[in-house]
Symmetry: C2
Subunit: 358 residues, 2 copies
């Protein structure tokens, strides 16, 4: 938990710096990031439990409101004695922070010890958040509190996303469609086009593809968590072939949908400059690797017979002939952002192109 | 479940067509996609339960193997009678398919009815998969079987990813680090640079940002699930401002890490051509929208004082002067792929640039 607190603290620092990136960037992500971080901002956020105690005429609302739990739940009958588990109501609310969209974020560090206690306090809390007109409720359950998952689902929570050690659930209170932001939507892959001074391209044959064992392809792979595209391409080439390279440009990228887990895939084709020649094959994933004459690589039927591959190779060849300019990577540390942020854009060299300003 | 079967069937068709995209594309995603789809490929995959029955000398292995459940679990004592729940062992195995990496994918449609029954059969299945030397175990639990989640976690499963209606858990059997592929790593945002014939740029002020209420920014947002980048940019501009546009180019993209839920963010800056002039503000998200003289937009201190924003605007202006070429979107339907697949690349117009082939 201590690490989580530290992470959140550094996220907050990032947030403060990022929030000033207003004129161009995607504020939705920043806004949501702020919301998810707000549970640590005790100085600026107001705890919902505090608000509940301060809501005017709350008793009246609670006593006259229609039961929103359904028939199986206890019915409000004009007295708090109808809630046998509530002695002091405020102490039976889950500790949570408000977000700026009218929702609440339950503090995972303040959850009760047992599933029964969690069920009781979750019901009580939801009841009050509904009366308060709250919208989204965020519940992050660590792996070691998995027994709380069915409790939350029974109360109407749905899954939002999961990482190895926690599950995020959400509950959308208002009528109408859920307006909460979606989880991550894409995986990102990279492919390296590496040509040596002999006009040979670095190619591999992967294992686990016995039906395509004669096909030579570019080294490819997924980028790692929070890895830069330009680093990922260099790393994948190094891992699969042992060749050191230097990133030059993103030549093109491909966007395709409904791939693993129904997510989308962005695949960046990168031009890399070789810095070594000696191939060392990664025996875990790669069957073979070699330097292959470019003409021979292009002549492979699976490239010649396919519009997409042919186009990509045409682009790479055009780039070699300086008839094409890809996107170079630039560290663009914003005034308010000390984190790694890379802007990929196209630098037209004056010596290559005659710029015609209209 | 029927829908899931249909989805899987269409995924398989996609797979067959995609698998031939070998020479360039990211095979890892295709491979994994194949694996996750394999539970429907009864014609080509071998059920693990069938394999178990056929494993030679299995009894010997089971009787002499060290107990891998730990002290709390039943100890193997030389007789199957030590497993009181096992009458016919094969019938107490979870139905699962092998994947091509030596792992198994449990069939969610064949799970037992109760958590107790699930606990029993999961223990039994894990025991045999361990003896068989299996690697990764994939378990997809629908929302309405949330009571199985703590059972699986107790047996050592961890969370992999979740969507609204299901949770995917995994168990990595071998010693050493887990080699299973990660879940989705990125969210994707778009921003629209829309300039009219009067040299005015389309700008908005967002709600929920009271401390920045004087700042005018480009319309931005996340792309929807499985949406094209070029469609997402046009849609966001339409939703926020009511202006119809036509996608021209991706001008640049920004890559930043540790944003919402610790995921990374890819943000594509798109140049769009306006097709209408009448602004209609989205009152839910947008405070105000207007056509702002480009010079006035650029003069805003938050752009002038920030390297990144200034660079992006410089690029947009260079593009207007035909001193820059962005990436255009091309449908590149591969011979074996009937799904939507978009390749973004840079088309250098001969009339704009003098190509110097080296």
């Amino acid at each position: 938990m201590q690490k989580a607190m530290l992470d959140m603290s550094s996220e907050m620092e990032f947030l403060r710096k990022t929030c000033s990136m207003l004129p161009i960037c995607n504020l939705a992500s920043i806004r949501f990031f702020r919301r998810m971080s707000s549970r640590q901002r005790r100085d600026v956020s107001v705890k919902s439990s505090y608000l509940i105690a301060k809501t005017p005429n709350e008793n009246t609302i609670a006593l006259t409101s229609k039961n929103i739990w359904g028939k199986e739940k206890l019915v409000i009958n004009g007295s708090y004695d109808a809630y046998p588990w509530i002695s002091s109501r405020e102490s039976y609310m889950l500790d949570a922070d408000e977000d700026e969209y009218g929702g609440v974020i339950i503090r995972p560090e303040c959850l009760p010890q047992t599933a029964d206690a969690f069920a009781t306090i979750l019901q009580s809390s939801l009841f009050h958040w509904k009366l308060q007109g709250k919208k989204g409720v965020w519940l992050r359950l660590p792996l070691d509190q998995a027994e709380f998952v069915p409790v939350a689902v029974k109360e109407g929570f749905k899954y939002h996303h999961a990482e190895q050690t926690y599950l995020m659930l959400t509950y959308w209170i208002p009528e109408g469609p859920c307006m909460l932001p979606a989880n991550a939507s894409h995986q990102v892959g990279v492919g390296g086009f590496v040509l040596n001074h002999r006009n040979e391209v670095l190619v591999v044959q992967e294992k686990h593809h016995y039906s395509f064992e004669d096909v030579w392809k570019l080294p490819t792979g997924f980028i790692l968590e929070n890895e830069e595209i330009f680093n990922g391409a260099v790393r994948e080439v190094k891992e699969e072939t042992g060749i050191d390279t230097e990133f030059l440009e993103v030549i093109a990228f491909r966007h395709v949908h409904h791939v693993a887990f129904e997510k989308s895939d962005l695949f960046f084709i990168c031009m890399l400059k070789p810095l070594s020649t000696q191939i060392v094959v990664d025996e875990l994933e790669i069957q073979a690797a070699k330097w292959m004459p470019l003409a021979e690589f292009v002549r492979q039927p699976c490239i010649q017979e396919d519009n997409m591959f042919k186009k990509i190779i045409d682009i790479c060849i055009a780039r070699l002939g300086k008839c094409y300019c890809g996107l170079t990577a630039h560290q663009v540390i914003s005034k308010f952002d000390s984190r790694s942020s890379t802007l990929y854009y196209n630098v037209v060299e004056p010596e290559d192109y005659s710029c015609q300003v209209s």
